[in-house]
């Protein structure tokens, strides 16, 4: 094994959340960019699904020279067969969540399970240290509220990359048309691993009433550079009915209630 680890990235078919237009799944594209930066020549990109998937060209545009497609029908993926294809790579990268289908985020866990290797999710940054004892991968992991955790692991391992990972995506039309999409092997169909979820309507959350700011655009821009105390009334005086009246007046004035 040379100095540079071999890296595979598994990417999914992306769809724009508003328009459904096929595109590279943002998180997956970031994983691909990290992988390319890490492994250079020893990087490979895989997609499990259809060769005709329109979003694959986007990955080419974002920098992949070629995409290797493992043909499979939607939802019928034998995870063991996928593990078979990528088992010889030191690091296997995925995104965090697909933009289509269930988007459960389970794939990296299932893959690691099938490969019998560790999985690290929400990776922001990946560093590879080579030492006499072998390859050590140091991952900086995303935690909420700006916290980060550093995790070290031996290879092989599966890393799910967080969409905020620092990778610049450069979209180039020429790569989109000149890159290649190959079919390799096939993954035998297996019973669907789709989680059997019950679908129910999301409960409505209470909406906080907020007075619309009635300011011209220029005034809003000004308020960004000039600090000024926001007005407001503290109703100390009077009975509870009087105080309620103050609130009601406010709501009426700002048309937040219509009675």
């Amino acid at each position: 094994m040379g100095d540079v680890p071999s890296v595979a990235a598994l990417v999914s078919a992306g769809r724009h959340p508003l328009t459904g237009v096929p595109r590279a799944c943002r998180g997956d594209a970031v994983a691909m960019a990290l992988g390319r930066a890490l492994a250079g020549e020893k990087f490979a990109l895989f997609h499990i699904g259809s060769v005709d998937e329109p979003s694959l060209r986007d990955y080419l545009a974002y920098g992949a020279d070629k995409v290797e497609v493992i043909p499979a029908n939607k939802g019928d993926v034998d995870i063991n067969a996928v593990a078979d294809v990528v088992k010889n790579f030191d690091i296997v990268l995925t995104g965090t969540r697909a933009e289509v289908a269930a988007g459960s985020g389970m794939f990296p866990y299932m893959l690691a399970h099938a490969m019998a290797c560790p999985v690290v999710t929400n990776a922001l940054d990946i560093r590879v240290d080579q030492s006499d004892t072998g390859t050590n991968v140091v991952i900086s992991q995303f935690l909420p509220k700006g916290q980060r955790r550093s995790i070290a692991s031996a290879t092989p391992l599966v890393i799910a990359v967080h969409p905020f990972a620092a990778a610049t995506l450069k979209y180039a039309h020429s790569r989109r048309v000149s890159g290649t999409i190959n079919v390799i092997g096939s993954v035998s169909a297996a019973p669907a691993r789709q989680p059997s979820w019950a679908v129910e309507a999301a409960p409505r959350r209470p909406v906080r009433l907020k007075a619309a700011e009635k300011q011209a655009g220029h005034a809003r821009l000004l308020s960004a550079i000039v600090s000024e105390a926001k007005g407001g009334v503290v109703a100390f005086e009077g009975t509870t009915v009087d105080k309620a009246q103050v609130v009601l007046n406010y709501l009426r004035e700002h048309r937040l209630v219509d009675f």
């Binding site: 974002y62 180039a172 020429s174 790569r175 655009g217």
Partner: protein, 626 residues
């Protein structure tokens, strides 16, 4: 008379040298791509020189007259020498004519010298500073050799004079071969003959970018040799007068762009040299001497830094001012195309906006049907196939901006008041692709344009009206190359027309505040529409206080060409400078006619003149019929 044969020999020697130099330079130009050119252009050179070029030069009478004297005198003298000495006629009458021509030239050279003593900063120095001396050597040498009667012409004087003549001629004939200042004369004339936009000479404002043939993997300009050959030739025509530099808003804002330096860098690129000999003002913040190029080497970043290309607002002020009719914007967009299409390297928020355009057909990443949210309560008819109507209102990206929605609502009120039969596209409206195109994303532009063209094909209307000059420009001037031919009018032109026909009754503006009008680049310089907006304002009873830079020479607001997206830092902001122009004109209202200008000028910090679109001014003066 022994000097006469010497002049004959000198003449033919010079001619041969010039020809060899020209052949050497032409070899460089021919490294460029093929371009359709008309050889008949050569015949048109005198007209193009005396009318079109001189029209620009004459804006500065001092140098125009000086140039007429120097160049006119020189050309006349050389032609006469060719006749009298080249053909060995040796007629004394022709000698008198030569002397007269040389005298005119000497007079002109005097004024060149005068100006070079305290040159404006925009002029390049270096080799250009020696011109008054070498040209004087030529004229004086010629005078002495020819005007001195043979009996007084001692061998000593004759050889000194001949030496002068030789030195002066060297400046003239070696220029083209060695890329020295006088190359502008030969390259300039050839450039006039083979100009990349010959339409310009028939009075057309030729401003549309040429489409790339993407299927043939035409992906913009990576190395100088990717320019078309006549573009390479055009760079050689530059006289380093700095008129472009002086008018460039990005340069004035301290962004790393100077159109003169850019053209000179491209000259370095085509001749395979470094920029060390450039003797003008640099790109602000980028030192001279560290960049060099070669015909087949990538231009960015070895020759030109990417920030230089991304600073341009594509305002065409440089093109408007260039006496040599050089097309800077075509060159800049050509290089941007390569950066965009082959490397995907675009700064700022531009990559995000371009991704939005690919994925949502809007710049802001909005759902398309939301574009007409501002008109929900206005009962605006929506275009449906099979139901003909007169005017298609195309809102553009400005429709998503809350400030600009006020303008659009005002426009709808006006159209209704004038009983115009109009409709909007609703959820069918995509971006025109204009911003993508200026940013070099030709693929996205062409896709959007083709899809819009097929949407238009399902509808029956007679013309398109838009309040966005960028939309106007692409629909009117750039869609035809892709098969879409439409009558497109700007809202100010339509309002002027409605007023003319008496279909709008307006009161005069009541507040009487002093008002000025800011010409949008894409309406003015790109489309030549300066009059309609002013006519509308006059109809409203406004007294216009014109800014110093208005009309064809108006300063850009900084909003064009995707510049707000690439957002290259300078020392000041372009809209701030424009707002200072407004203040200087003593205006309290600045009338605008473009969503970009509105946003840029509204965004100026601190107290400033009120920014109102012409549609808003008209709507506020509408008289509702009783």
């Amino acid at each position: 008379m022994a000097v006469a044969p010497a002049i004959t020999v000198l003449f033919w020697l010079s001619t041969a040298t010039l020809m060899i130099g020209l052949a050497r330079r032409a070899r460089l130009w021919r490294a460029g791509q093929r371009a359709p050119v008309e050889w008949a252009g050569l015949l048109a050179v005198p007209k193009r020189y005396f009318v079109d070029l001189h029209h620009v030069v004459a804006r500065e009478p001092y140098i125009a007259n000086t140039h007429v004297a120097v160049a006119g005198g020189a050309v006349a003298a050389i032609l006469l020498v060719a006749l009298n000495y080249g053909l060995a006629i040796y007629s004394p009458i022709l000698d008198v004519a030569i002397v007269l021509a040389a005298l005119v030239m000497v007079a002109g050279v005097f004024f060149v010298w005068q100006r070079r003593r305290h040159p404006p900063k925009r002029l390049s120095r270096g080799a250009w500073d020696r011109l008054p001396y070498t040209l004087a050597l030529f004229a004086v040498g010629l005078l002495v050799v020819i005007a001195t009667p043979a009996q007084y012409l001692s061998a000593a004087i004759a050889s000194v004079a001949l030496f002068f003549l030789l030195a002066g001629s060297a400046e003239l004939v070696l220029g083209i071969g060695f890329g020295a200042p006088m190359k502008h004369a030969v390259a300039g004339l050839l450039h006039l003959a083979f100009h990349p936009r010959p339409e310009r000479f028939s009075g057309v404002r030729s401003t549309a970018l040429k489409p790339l043939e993407l299927e043939k993997m035409e992906l913009g300009v990576d190395a100088p040799a990717d320019f078309r050959w006549n573009q390479l030739l055009s760079f050689d025509a530059c006289v380093q007068c700095g008129k472009c530099e002086q008018s460039c808003p990005a340069f004035a804002a301290g962004q790393p762009l100077n159109p003169k330096k850019l053209i000179q860098d491209l000259v370095c690129g085509l001749s395979g040299t470094s920029d060390a000999n450039y003797a003008g003002r640099p790109y602000p913040g980028i030192a001279i001497g560290a960049h060099s190029g070669a015909l087949d080497n990538p231009i960015v970043p070895q020759l030109i830094e990417p920030a230089t290309l991304w600073s341009c607002t594509t305002c065409r002020a440089c093109v408007e001012e260039c006496p040599m009719l050089i097309e800077h914007v075509d060159a800049i967009v050509g290089m941007r195309r390569s950066l965009n299409l082959t490397r995907g390297e675009i700064p700022g928020t531009a990559p995000e906006i371009l991704a939005n355009l690919r994925e949502t057909d809007t710049q802001g990443g909005y759902p398309k049907p939301a574009r007409y949210n501002w008109s929900i309560d206005l009962d605006v008819p929506q275009a449906v196939p099979g139901k003909p109507f007169d005017v298609l209102l195309y809102a553009g990206e400005g429709a998503f901006d809350m400030r600009y929605q006020r303008t659009l609502r005002a426009l709808v009120r006006i159209l209704k008041a004038a009983k115009v039969d109009f409709a909007v596209l609703g959820g069918e409206e995509r971006d025109t692709g204009d911003t993508a195109r200026r940013l070099g994303d030709e693929a996205t532009f062409q896709r959007l344009a083709k899809e819009n063209i097929s949407t238009f094909a399902t509808l029956k209307f007679s013309r398109i009206v838009t309040a966005d000059p960028h939309v106007l420009h692409s629909l009117r001037n750039e869609y035809p190359a892709l098969g879409g031919h439409y009558v497109v009018v700007h809202h100010t032109a339509l309002i002027a027309e409605l007023m003319e026909q008496g279909r709008l009754s307006t009161a005069t503006l009541t507040n009487g505040k002093p008002l000025t009008y800011h010409d949008p680049c894409y309406l003015g310089r790109y489309n030549g529409e300066f009059e309609a907006p002013r006519a509308v304002l006059r109809k409203l009873g406004a007294t216009l206080r014109e800014m110093e830079r208005s009309g064809p020479r108006a300063r850009c607001c900084g909003g064009g060409g995707g510049a707000p997206l690439t957002d290259i830092a300078g020392i000041q902001r372009i809209p701030d400078m424009r707002m200072a122009d407004v203040r200087e004109a003593g205006a309290e209202i600045v009338a605008v006619a473009c969503p970009q200008c509105t946003a840029m000028l509204e965004g100026v910090a601190g107290s400033h003149a009120e920014v109102l679109d012409i549609a808003e001014l008209v709507a506020s003066a509408l008289e509702v019929p009783a």
